[in-house]
């Protein structure tokens, strides 16, 4: 019996640790900062922006002991990116996997991808699929390539070319893993991208019959967004 009680107490303690809400870390902030942040979260929520990533950012700042003005600025900046992401995604920002897609879009904006490139990826994906995961995978791939010092425009256009050829999520994963491997082996980022793009496009073209004609009927040249 004693062991059972101790066991239950340990389980309860572990569960409470897992369930501890992010808001509790905001308790480390001054009352003024808490009020300012709560106002930001409330107004964002009223605009349809999910509160969870904002509360996460507040918890992150509080945990790191960051300057309060900096936390407020970081939350404002995140709200702006999420609002931009919502605008770019349109109705798709409310997909079942909505935050995954919204978060990936906001990350792409933070990484410096031009809104026009993201819009092209969204449009390209929307015409071909109903599942948001390939688009999330595409955005993650673009951000990952930028982190590997590939220019944002080249990264965006390359992934658009792969999406146009109906690359699957697995193929995008393999694509970025191969580029990472080539760079680790000594290739420059641009050479790694060019080499892998050539290989993947050839393989995708060979493996699938592609309808290159968009709904308008005109063929789009390779590389065009």
């Amino acid at each position: 019996m004693r062991h059972l009680i101790i066991g239950l107490a340990l389980v309860a303690r572990a569960a409470s640790a897992q369930m501890q809400p992010a808001e509790s870390f905001a308790g480390r902030l001054s009352p003024d900062a808490r009020v300012a942040l709560q106002r930001l979260v409330d107004s964002a929520r009223a605009a349809g922006i999910p509160a969870a990533p904002l509360q996460n950012k507040i918890a992150e700042g509080a945990l790191k002991g960051a300057d309060e003005r900096r936390i407020i600025a970081a939350v404002q900046s995140l709200i702006q990116r999420l609002a931009d992401a919502q605008r770019i995604l349109g109705p798709r920002s409310r997909d079942t996997d909505g935050y995954g897609l919204l978060g990936a879009t906001a990350s792409a904006l933070q990484a410096g991808v031009a809104p026009g490139i993201i819009q092209s990826l969204v449009a390209l994906d929307s015409t071909q699929r109903s599942d948001p995961r390939p688009l999330v995978g595409a955005l993650v791939t673009v951000v990952d390539l930028i982190a590997k010092h590939i220019p944002a425009s080249a990264a965006g256009m390359s992934v658009a070319d792969l999406l146009r050829r109906r690359a699957t999520e697995d193929e995008l994963v393999a694509f970025r893993a191969d580029i990472a491997r080539d760079i680790t082996a000594g290739a420059t980022p641009d050479i790694a991208l060019a080499t892998r793009m050539r290989a993947y496009m050839q393989a995708l073209d060979a493996n699938r019959s592609i309808d290159r004609r968009p709904p308008g009927g005109r063929a789009s040249p390779p590389g065009a967004l």
Binding site: L63, K64, A73, A74, S77, V140, D144, D170, L172, R181
Partner: protein, 176 residues
């Protein structure tokens, strides 16, 4: 070596074989630690910086093959090694070397930056703290909390500005 020396009947070779088969005299705790490491699951291991050098020759060979135009078709649909998925989540292993730490946890966008949520456990070598976390596919930002202090993952391949002046580590999790 002459052929007759290499025959199974050669006494010298038999003695050498026996010597090689003998289990060397090692400390029991060292053997236990080694066995524990062998038993560790190998999937999605976050390779420590010092281990990367052992991968370079293989990576170089792979790249050389690719640049030579070999295996272009085979490059498609290849998952990164060591990925396991379950219920749409991928198990990802994190490790942090901190021999003198008394408590290490991982925080990130997957646990609301809650240092109490995912504590790491000290591994058998007594130096490395480890944990496996189930993550959704995509990019995740994270950090370690070592005895109350936030620390970056020194082995992370990528970092990302957090807007707070303390860059985060990034892990990219494959799709399911």
């Amino acid at each position: 070596m002459r052929e007759r020396d290499a025959s199974p009947e050669s006494p010298m070779l038999q003695r050498a074989t026996e010597l090689l088969r003998e289990i060397p005299d090692v400390r029991a705790e060292w053997r236990a630690a080694l066995n524990a490491r062998i038993r560790q699951p190998s999937f999605n291991v976050r390779v420590k910086a010092r281990d990367r050098s052992t991968l370079r020759p293989f990576a170089a060979i792979a790249a050389a093959l690719v640049f030579a135009g070999v295996g272009i078709g085979a490059a498609l649909a290849v998952r990164a090694p060591g990925q396991t998925t379950e219920n749409g989540l991928s198990r990802t292993r994190f490790a942090f070397v901190a021999p003198s730490a008394s408590q290490v946890s991982i925080v990130g966008d997957f646990n609301q930056w809650n240092p109490a949520a995912f504590p790491l456990r000290r591994s058998a070598d007594g130096r490395t703290w480890v944990i496996e976390v189930s993550l959704r596919s995509g990019r995740h930002v994270y950090a370690f909390v070592v005895d109350g202090k936030v620390a970056r993952d020194p082995t992370a391949a990528e970092g990302e500005d957090d807007g707070l002046g303390m860059p985060n580590s990034v892990v990219v999790v494959q799709g399911t």
